[in-house]
Amino acid sequence: MTLLQVISLSKDFAGLHALESVSFSAERGKILGIIGPNGAGKTTLFNIISGIYLPTAGEILFQGKKILRMKAHRISHLGIGRTFQIVRPLNNLDVETNVLVAYGHRIYPSLWKSVRACRQREALQEVRGIMERTGLKAYSGTLAGNLPLGFKKRLEIARALALQPKLLLLDEPSGGLRYEESFQLMELIRMLRDQGIGILLIEHNMQVVMDLCERIVVLDHGIKIAEGVPEEIRSNPQVIEAYLGRETQHA
């Protein structure tokens, strides 16, 4: 089932083409990898899907509905959760409260409801469930700013999960993590996929990408240069060139 359709999306920043006519689609219960060298436009793509930037041209459909020009919080209400490449926990709040912020917004559509108590039993139950699934339970009272990096990354995911997302945008979840930490994180991502969540994964660690993703989209300088299953991507000469540079021709 198609969850997200990105149709000839372009974005210019003062003459620089960050994205040029990029199209692809993502499905529920599948992990789609987005890879490419630095500056390929991956994070820009996430910022457009989540409503932070407006594209120069193109269209995005989420479950068949146009979401461009919607405000960021509306898009997240529809069920698109995201994490940031550089973790951005709300440092002065504890872990539980961080998740509660994201949870609350799904359940208070009206102004009147939003003045009611935030720590209701059902909300806390849900939040604790999410923390258990993401392995954060032991840290619930810790200030988010004091968590080790691996757990900050988990917190990013936990907050996105509190939105009960249908689609998750994960921006380098394993970046900066030790091997076993990133291994545990992969397990978590697989579990989320098996629950039927569609996942877009930006990742630099090729091992992680090849192991996790059903399909992969390769961007280079804002242009989609390849799309396919991991096997195809691994042997695609254009991809190898983008990553390693052109081979010198000997006469």
Binding site: S76, F84, H105, I107
Partner: protein
């Protein structure tokens, strides 16, 4: 004697807190200095006075002053700040100073340049225990500010919207990607801050028994000093700094009888604290 001065200082300080908190909340979320907040405070006093003359009931006039200030605060946010927020931060600052001057002139033109009396019967009565004595307006100030601060604290720590406001003060973009309607929360900051400024305007109007067009000028810069002293954007810091400034003003002038301009105390305190704690009393780096 000492208890008397303490009570005087705390009641002065609580009014400072009511004025400064709006400034702190706006700075906390938008990182702009809302100088025109002092204009909102004066507007609250005028609206309160006007409605007092119409209905002759102090509590209704307090309510009217708060609501009038809140509406004005919301309009300022929507039509002055929001359209220019994407510009460099100096633009909202200049716009704010301009608006403050314009408001003072408007008050002068509409209500006249002279001082108006706000001679309200509150109906609380003085409080006297031995030689310790609180006037009716002091009781009023302590009671109203305590209730407002208590309500603010409960709202920020217990309600869902309060939680959203704290999240927005920490990171607007993250908050919006987790479903917080950021523009509604920004508006809410202005509305709540202005409600408190309006209350402060009415309380001071009754306490000094006068309302005049430039009554906001001194609070405008004193609140700025208090907000910096407390640590920019820190709500508990602002309350603490307000009480400290209120107490030191009272003690310097009342107890030590030092011939010293009262309104300079806030700045001396600010300079002293910033020498040792550059981020203010409860501010963070």
């Amino acid at each position: 004697m000492i208890w008397q001065q303490l009570a005087n200082g705390i009641s002065v300080g609580s009014v400072y807190a009511l004025i400064s908190l709006g400034l702190t909340m706006v700075y906390g979320i938008l990182r702009i200095l809302h100088v025109a907040h002092a204009g909102i405070y004066t507007l609250g006093a005028y609206v309160g006075l006007l409605s007092f003359r119409l209905v002759d009931n102090f509590w209704l006039s307090l309510f009217a002053g708060m609501v009038g200030a809140a509406v004005a605060g919301y309009l300022v946010e929507r039509f002055l700040y929001t359209p220019i927020l994407h510009l460099s931060r100096i633009a909202p600052l200049i716009a704010s100073i301009g608006l403050f001057t314009a408001m003072e002139e408007a008050f002068r033109i509409v209500a006249g340049p002279h001082t108006l009396v706000y001679n309200a019967r509150v109906g609380l009565g003085d409080l006297a225990i031995g030689s310790f004595r609180l006037t009716e307006t002091q009781v009023l100030i302590l009671l109203v500010s305590f209730l407002i601060l208590l309500f603010l604290w409960l709202f920020l720590t217990r309600s869902r919207m309060g939680l959203a406001m704290r999240a927005c003060a920490l990171d607007l973009e993250t908050a919006s990607s987790f479903g917080v309607n950021v523009s509604a929360i920004i508006a809410m900051n202005f509305i709540i801050g202005s409600l408190m400024a309006g209350a402060a305007g009415v309380l001071i109007g009754v306490y000094d028994n006068q309302v005049w067009p430039t009554m906001g000028s001194i609070p405008a810069y004193k609140a700025l000093a208090i907000v910096v002293l407390g640590g920019l954007g820190s709500i508990p810091g602002t309350v603490l700094a307000s009480i400290i400034v209120g107490l030191s003003e009272t003690f310097f002038i009342g107890v030590l009888s030092i011939p010293f301009p009262r309104d300079a105390v806030a700045f001396i305190a600010m300079i002293l604290v910033l020498m040792f704690r550059p981020y203010g009393l409860l501010g963070k780096a």
